[in-house]
Symmetry: C2
DNA sequence: GTGAAAGCGCTAACAC
DNA sequence: GTGTTAGCGCTTTCAC
């Protein structure tokens, strides 16, 4: 079988060229929209192309140009509302420049992250957006950069890596929220946070955390501690309630916190999952919000206004975080080599019904 | 510059072969794990490979093998919990067989869907999972199939397309839920659904809908109507409350429904967004749930147990829907050519506090 | 403006 | 078991 007899396989530029009676180079120029082509040739090529149902093979093109018009996105879990929104922002910004998105979930597991990054490099993505599972171990990301693949971090930074980071100032946001509680007269303000990143009262006292160099929950905890210290209030281990990253464990941790003798009068939760668990525990205990206890947490989920009372929350511009990360990455892909650094988007403190004056006594 | 002097570009199989002192073919065989290679040669190749930091170029491989180990996933919006969960299921099932996932959002817009499918075909994905925006217009999907790309539909079917569909039986699920309300004595049971797909009372009376051939909301509406008719209850336009697909509009539609003289004693909502709006309206109206009005809706969102009362819901196995779709698609990619058809996964009716006996009168 | 020819990095016959 | 050779479908010099 000679080369031109592949009757029923997809038409290539070769077939189009033959049908149009021009050379492959001319057909390619017309189809690809580069280089000089006469109007006549272009017209013949175009009509041949759609008569044959020609579609360019982007793999072949990528082999030569070295660019795939594809971004790799490596996050913890697309099922978490935070990442779903961020990915939508990324996807829209990418799409606006004709880039596609390959998604990988890590479940905050470094091994999965390594594997994902490797595959994405092998697939020759043009850039990588990563929410790194471990801020301290980023050799694989440095390696990607070394191979010419720009990396933008989202949600959390990595001190050891020279790259762009798009995040919010978690310490500041938490500090603001806790300051608000303090102004309402609260003195015992607990935090319900992830065990895997939580620090003890002693540790959080010493810690000096860069604003984008850690997992968000530690930063939020640090902000909480800073606010307490700033008001001269004690930061004790009893106020630090940790749970596996799981709603039910957050419920149990909160239940334990409010069962004690010296019940906190307010609780800060570090994200939606923790908030859900904490709220459940408070409801089950039959406590009045905010009469007996105030509740404020990160993330303005849609449901926070249909619970009673509606929740006071710290909202992040999640979609924008994603869109911004993608835009920065795309700029890098396009050759921008200005010095990389963090970009902080503003959070907003949304005052609703779950925070109120501290109960007497 | 001769061919071997590309000092600082990524090492290719050629470089590895040279370093190991074997031919490219041998190096390729060792690296790719195919064909016969002596232990000695393999060892030398492997050590040369990781000394040089060799990584295979999957684009080049795909050019030859014709497979990219990539699935295209075309959905409405990753920000909707339903799709986020489904995509996680898809991603995990794909990953289990070393496939990656490219994501595209359509916002139920056919033009965006067409564009996405085109790009994915051009990128030579091995298969496509699609939640089609329009069940009636699927020429682009048939075209993908014609080009040898298997297609699996998720969440909704398309009567005109011969392919696998993974969904739930929405009519049946809705009918069951409404039957439950009927057994509780309800006679005026309204539905809050999307305007874009809703049928009038007259239309829904005549409609004969295939179980997987439509958008889910019509099917749910049909199930609702079937239950009413089955109990000899009237299906009137007054009971059909439509809204843009948007929580706030659902709130307004519900507010109008419960403001009238002949207030429904129960409401069925067709998904999380509608439920959120409906619940908000009921709370704002100060009605007691379920004393004044019962509420049941599709989708068992995490927050449905922290509102008071907790919501009775129809739960779909969303993650499994995704995983199943991916597994079927992967089977097709692997050559399975058994007759395609729909697969229905079971929903579950979760009885909680938002449904109760119909009020007297 | 157009064509011939080389080659991206890899796999797959086919000899030996 | 190993090497040689011919492509995959495209872009890109470089002549003409």
């Amino acid at each position: 079988m000679t080369k031109r007899q592949r009757a029923n396989s997809a038409p290539t530029i070769h077939d189009v060229a033959a049908a149009a009676g021009v050379s492959r180079a001319t057909a390619a120029r017309a189809l690809g929209g580069y280089g000089p082509v006469s109007d006549d040739a272009r017209a013949r090529v175009m009509s041949a192309a759609d008569r044959l149902g020609y579609r360019p093979n982007r793999l072949a093109r990528s082999m030569i140009t070295g660019t795939t018009h594809t971004l790799g996105v490596v996050i913890a879990d697309i099922q978490l509302a935070f990442f779903a929104q961020a990915v939508r922002g990324i996807s829209d910004a990418a799409r606006a420049q004709e880039f596609e998105v390959i998604l990988a979930n890590t479940d905050e597991d470094r091994a999965k992250e390594l594997a994902a990054v490797d595959v994405l490099i092998d697939k020759r993505v043009d850039g990588l957006i990563v929410a790194p599972a471990d801020s301290a171990q980023t050799a694989h990301l440095a390696e990607a950069q070394r191979r010419g693949i720009p990396v933008v971090l989202i949600d959390r930074g990595a001190p050891g890596l020279r790259c762009d980071v798009v995040a919010v100032d978690n310490q500041r946001a938490a500090r603001n929220a806790v300051n608000h509680l303090i102004r309402l007269g609260h003195r015992r303000i607990a935090i319900v946070t992830e065990a895997s990143t939580a620090l003890s009262a002693a540790e959080i006292g010493r810690a000096h955390l860069p604003p984008a160099g850690q997992m968000t929950s530690v930063l939020r905890q640090a902000g909480w501690a800073a606010a307490l210290r700033g008001a001269g209030l004690p930061v004790t281990d009893e106020l630090i309630r940790t749970a596996r990253y799981d709603r039910d464990d957050a419920r149990a941790a909160t239940a334990a916190a409010i069962a004690g003798a010296d019940r906190p009068t307010a609780i800060l939760t570090t994200d939606e999952t923790m908030t859900l668990g904490a709220l459940e525990a408070i409801l089950e205990a039959g406590l009045d919000i905010p009469g007996d206890i105030s509740l404020v947490g990160f993330d303005d989920s849609p449901w926070t206004t249909v619970v009673r009372p509606p929740l006071t929350v710290i909202a992040q511009p999640v979609y924008e975080l994603g869109a911004m990360a993608a835009r920065r990455l795309l700029a890098r892909v396009a050759g921008d080599d200005s010095p990389p650094g963090p970009v902080f988007l503003d959070t907003s403190f949304i005052l609703r019904g779950s925070t109120g004056r501290a109960p007497e006594g």
